[in-house]
């Protein structure tokens, strides 16, 4: 009986995870060529907040029982950092600009529990203010799936590495929205 308990513990150890920190965001350079070619005005990035009315806490993610933390302190700060990095790489970031992009993170989900597929979903409301006037207000969503596994040693690293891709996809949708482009002209 004792052996069975030890074996069960070992099995759980390999299937479950402990606390991990998400990779820092990396720009998706497929967006950059498009942004540089559009002759847009420089912008500054305002705050990215969470909707306090939402039941789910967008700043709290778990991965196979272990906490999945943001390297920026929160996932709202992660999205803010991602926006800044993309715009900076496109040479469009200017803290003195009169055009401000801000966002509200509405949904943030990471599911690495599946034995065949992992899923991440994200939803945010993006706002553009030009000299105090709201010129853009739209909700964008993105989802991303990847091949998962029963074994935590494979499933956890895969989920860990795939979360930033859903953020890249969300920003890719924003940067290819003609209305967003128009708000930055």
């Amino acid at each position: 009986m004792k052996k069975l308990a030890v074996l069960t513990f070992m099995l759980l150890f390999f299937v479950l995870g402990c606390s991990t920190v998400a990779p820092l965001y990396n720009t998706d350079f497929n967006n950059i060529s498009h942004l540089r070619g559009e002759k847009l005005n420089s912008v500054k990035v305002g705050s990215v907040k969470k909707d306090l009315q939402e039941k789910e806490n967008v700043d709290y993610l778990t991965l196979r029982g272990g906490k999945y933390e943001s390297p920026n302190g929160s996932f709202t700060a992660y999205l803010e950092d991602a926006l800044k990095q993309e715009l900076d790489d496109a040479r469009l970031l200017d803290s003195s600009s009169k055009i401000e992009v801000s966002a509200v993170l509405l949904k943030n989900m990471l599911d690495g529990s599946g034995i065949s597929i992992g899923i991440a979903e994200i939803e945010a409301r993006f706002l553009v203010n030009k000299e105090g006037t709201l010129t853009y207000d739209k909700i964008m969503t993105a989802s991303h799936t990847w091949e998962s596994s029963f074994a935590g040693a494979i499933a956890i690293p895969r989920a860990h590495q795939n979360y930033p891709i859903v953020v890249q996809k969300l920003l890719g949708k924003l940067f290819t929205d003609p209305e967003f482009m128009a708000a930055l002209r």
Partner: protein, 192 residues
């Protein structure tokens, strides 16, 4: 029930291959030069290289696997976008006609190999990683005008690797592409 758990544990304990990502933190690839060269450049990675994943040594008899070209492509893009006005991915083999018709002034051709090692017996993450990066640049006429080789070596301790499984690899690729960026931003060959 006991047999089932024993079988599952055996599967878990037998050496296996673990995925890691070797893309460096792109924000660490920086140049002080803000004025980029007013030219469009292209780079070519074949689809077979992009889809190719490789296995290399991890710890405890395990191996790690990753996609060298696909995962280092963003670093190459960051380097080229930091130096040139625009960068195009070339999906066809480079020909002078194609480069001229698409107004691509220079074409870059990277070649990447990797090695890994782990000092860990009980952990699978590589504690040491090497990225060998060779990059060539050609003019529209197909003349080789620039060629460099960079060797990036990265190491990480076990406590660091528990937070980021591919940290040694990321440090190695960061070193290789950082050296390339420094070289390229000062290269006279691209400034007419």
């Amino acid at each position: 029930m006991r047999k089932l758990i024993l079988a599952l544990c055996s599967i878990m304990l037998i050496g296996c291959a673990h995925p890691i990502v070797i893309t460096p933190e792109l924000r660490t690839l920086k140049t002080t030069e803000r004025n980029y060269i007013q030219a469009t450049v292209g780079y070519y990675i074949s689809s077979s290289d992009r889809d190719n994943y490789v296995y290399s040594a991890g710890g405890g008899g395990d191996r790690v696997y990753y996609y060298p070209y696909k995962e280092l492509e963003p670093a190459l893009q960051k380097v080229l976008f930091s130096v040139f006005k625009d960068v195009k991915r070339l999906d066809l083999a480079i020909t002078p006609e194609y480069l001229r018709s698409n107004d691509i002034k220079y074409a870059f051709l990277p070649e990447i190999t990797t090695e890994s090692y782990s000092a860990g017996v009980m952990s699978w993450m590589p504690t040491s990683f090497t990225v060998n990066l060779t990059c060539k640049a050609f003019t529209q006429n197909g003349k080789l005008i620039w060629q460099r080789k960079y060797i990036g070596v990265g190491t990480a301790t076990f406590s660091e690797l528990t937070k980021d499984f591919g940290l040694a690899a990321k440090r190695a690729s960061q070193k290789a592409f950082s050296d390339m960026l420094n070289d390229l931003s000062q290269a006279k060959e691209f400034r007419d």
